[in-house]
């Protein structure tokens, strides 16, 4: 799958790298990949790297929200990193920026 890749780092960090446009066409698939990765590896930190994401619709935002919940379920810290300015705006508008560790 091209839009999401999962890298486990030995110190217990699960790094999820998303790419391209995350929308209703691929959100379900990405959501599944992420859920499985978190369930399998039970990381201490879940980190979502958005550097390569150019667009997210509301279902894309739902994927992030669910990732946050999945991390909470395994008591992992959750952070989102490197959103492009437009995505950062979007995360501020939706009131998620703070919970995602973005200011």
């Amino acid at each position: 799958m091209g839009e999401a890749s999962v890298d486990a780092i030995d110190d217990g960090t699960l790094r999820l790298t998303l790419r391209g446009e995350i929308d209703f066409t691929n959100a379900g698939e990405i959501h599944k990949t992420i859920r499985e990765a978190i369930a399998d590896r039970r990381p201490q930190v879940v980190l979502v790297d958005l550097a390569g994401v150019t667009f997210m619709d509301s279902t894309g935002i739902s994927v992030l929200v669910d990732t946050m919940r999945a991390a909470a379920e395994v008591q992992a810290e959750f952070r989102v990193e490197n959103p492009i300015p437009r995505l950062l705006d979007q995360l501020r508008t939706t009131g998620l920026a703070k919970a995602f560790g973005l200011t």
Binding site: R69, T93, T94, L96
Partner: protein, 644 residues
């Protein structure tokens, strides 16, 4: 053992295979249908159906019927079925002696007898004769005549004749070399191994081959060193030299190897006369076999064919029997995995039409086949997906119409006129979860709201219905405070998600903006849950209201929503919208907002008699990806006017 016997056996073996293919039930039926269609001038499919029906009527196996039909029709046309072996035997019988030479070794290249060394024509005449012969030959041949000194020792050689292909490293043609001395043209060759071979052959009259030997060219631009092999034969009083440049041979071989690698190609050759099988490096690669082991015997090669594809090979063998070149794609199992192989097989025949060699060019097309199959699978899934989307769309549209009937004209509420427009997404399947609410609440106030459920289809429409009805109910029974309402809606959506929590589905989240207007004071109190702030347009200037904190609905178990305030004056226009209005995939949110601001500026700068209708009329842009809900409101004068 008689070599002809071997050849006959191989032909008989081929015949047996072709016969086996011909008697294959599917092949029989296919051929019979084809022939019948040709005779009757109908389509093959019709002929096929006809044969099936006929067999059914006659209570016979369709394959035996097909065999009968074939026998009858091919018998009449008098061709096609005679076996290779019979044809060859017939051809051989009349004059076995003659055929023994021609039939046995037809493709053998001409091996020129060594020219008689003795009776050399006197003077230049024989040299000219040699030149005329060389003129017709490919490759590089040079006739050298020795130069003797007074003691009878050979001191040098003269170029006496050369074939047209002779072009030396400095670009001189054979004709330019004629008459010149070896010591002058190629000084580095003197006293080398080739030079020695010449002397020996002149002595004993025996042909020699020298090389490969390195030849260092005195010419600067030429390759520093090339490898040469020279075949030396005595001709008349001179030496006929055939030169082979190995760098060219190597280049050619490398080019072939490169081509095989790039194209995943390999070629094989089966000599029916000698029985020899040759495989190229590429073929060994395709069959993952060590070249040291030699080619796989044909039976074993064929045994690798995937069982499902045996009929394909049968069809091919049958076509081959009819003298057609075969181009067939089938699967083989090599080292535990399946490869898709395309084979083009052709026969070399002698002048009598008898097959003497079978050539096959084989290509590993697995990569292409695999992606083609994957594409087909994806297309199938897409098609299924489309169908279920279409069905879902119908339900979603119906649900939305029931839950959210859109008013055609403006709604007059206490002190406020409201107009609403819903713009569905361009793509019909993307009917979404946008909603609005506009209704009076206690103390003469008015509650306005617009919301957007993430996602599309039935699930989104259901969540939209839940949120809207909950808001309507809560605002009448419990509270009309926008922040408290959003807190309640968040709890509702979050809990709803957990009630039917399935890990495989995305959580339902939603955004909303809720505002309470007090007509008596013109005061607007509002809160938002992850939603764009309302736009307020006044006298040609439109601003986005400063947004208070408030996360989207359904993300957190509990959430706090702040309140913000504003005042509406007569002539102002307030716009609540969902992000479909400004969110476009390939432009920034600001760029999407700009045209909306322009329209609003214009509406309040030069008010018309029905500003809301004009405004919504101009905001008709449809977002291809998302549906859009717009709610526009303007305060009515203390005494309700009659304009729209």
């Amino acid at each position: 053992m008689d070599p002809l016997e071997d050849y006959r056996n191989r032909l008989a073996d081929l015949d047996a295979r072709i016969e086996e293919a011909r008697s294959d039930p599917e092949v029989l039926l296919g051929r019979a249908s084809g022939l019948l269609a040709g005779r009757a001038g109908c389509r093959v499919g019709e002929a096929h159906a006809y044969l099936l029906r006929l067999a059914d009527e006659q209570g016979r196996q369709v394959h035996t019927l097909a065999a009968d039909v074939l026998a009858a029709m091919e018998g009449r046309s008098g061709g096609g079925t005679s076996s290779l072996a019979t044809a060859v035997d017939e051809a051989l019988r009349p004059d076995p002696g003659r055929v023994h030479r021609q039939g046995e070794r037809p493709p053998e290249p001409p091996t020129p007898e060594p020219p008689p060394a003795d009776p050399a024509p006197a003077g230049d005449a024989w040299v000219q004769a040699v030149q005329r012969v060389l003129d017709t030959l490919p490759d590089r041949h040079i006739l050298l005549l020795p130069r003797y000194d007074d003691t009878g020792r050979v001191t040098d050689y003269t170029f006496a004749a050369a074939s047209p292909a002779v072009v030396d490293l400095s670009g001189r043609s054979g004709a330019q070399l004629l008459g010149r001395a070896m010591s002058e043209v190629y000084p580095t060759i003197m006293d080398g191994p080739i030079w020695e071979a010449w002397a020996l052959t002149i002595d004993d009259g025996l042909p020699r081959e020298v090389g490969p030997v390195p030849y260092v060219s005195p010419v600067e631009r030429a390759p520093a060193e090339i490898l040469l092999t020279v075949k030396v034969r005595p001709v008349g009083t001179g030496l006929l030299n055939t030169w082979i440049r190995h760098d060219e041979e190597t280049r050619l071989a490398e080019r072939i190897a490169q081509t095989e690698r790039l194209g995943n190609l390999g070629w094989g050759e089966w000599d029916l006369v000698t029985g020899q099988i040759l495989w190229s490096d590429g073929l060994y690669r395709i069959y993952e076999r060590d070249p040291g082991q030699g080619p796989l015997p044909r039976e074993e090669t064929e045994a690798l064919t995937v069982a499902d594809d045996l009929p394909v090979r049968q069809q091919a063998a049958e076509a081959f029997g009819r003298g057609q070149a075969v181009d067939v794609t089938y699967r083989i199992r090599v080292s535990g995995h399946v490869k898709h192989i395309r084979a083009v097989v052709d026969t070399v025949r002698d002048s009598g039409g008898r097959p003497v060699k079978v050539y096959g060019i084989v290509q590993d097309v697995t990569a292409g086949e695999t992606s083609r199959l994957r594409l087909t699978e994806v297309e199938r899934q897409l098609s299924e997906h489309r169908q279920s989307l279409a069905a879902e769309h119908k339900v979603a549209v119906r649900l939305q119409q029931i839950v959210l009937p859109m008013p055609v004209g403006p709604i007059d509420l206490p002190g406020l006129r409201v107009a609403v427009r819903y713009l569905p997404a361009e793509q019909a399947s993307r009917v979404g979860g946008d909603w609005y609410h506009a209704a009076p609440v206690g103390d003469g106030g008015v509650l306005l709201a617009v919301g957007d459920v993430a996602g599309h289809g039935i699930e989104a429409a259901a969540a939209m219905a839940q949120l809207r009805h909950a808001l309507a109910a809560l605002s009448v029974t419990t509270t009309d405070d926008p922040a408290e309402l959003l807190t309640a809606l968040n709890r509702l959506l979050f809990a709803g998600r957990h009630a039917d929590a399935e890990r495989s589905t995305l959580p339902v989240t939603a955004t909303a903006v809720v505002a309470r207007y007090e007509p008596a004071t013109g005061r607007l109190v509002w809160a938002r849950a992850g939603h764009p702030a309302p736009l307020l347009s006044r006298a040609g200037v439109t601003t986005e209201l400063e947004p208070p904190e408030g996360p989207l609905l359904g993300a957190f178990p509990t959430a706090e929503y702040e309140l913000a305030g504003a005042h509406l004056r007569p002539g102002d226009v307030l716009l609540l919208y969902t992000d479909g209005l400004v969110e476009h995939r390939h432009q920034s949110l600001d760029a999407g907002l700009a045209p909306v601001l322009t329209v609003l500026d214009h509406i309040t700068a030069e008010p018309t008699s029905q500003p809301l209708a004009d405004l919504l009329g101009r905001l008709r842009y449809t977002n291809p990806d998302d549906d859009t809900c717009i709610l526009a409101a303007r305060p009515l004068p203390a005494r309700a006017g009659h304009d729209a």
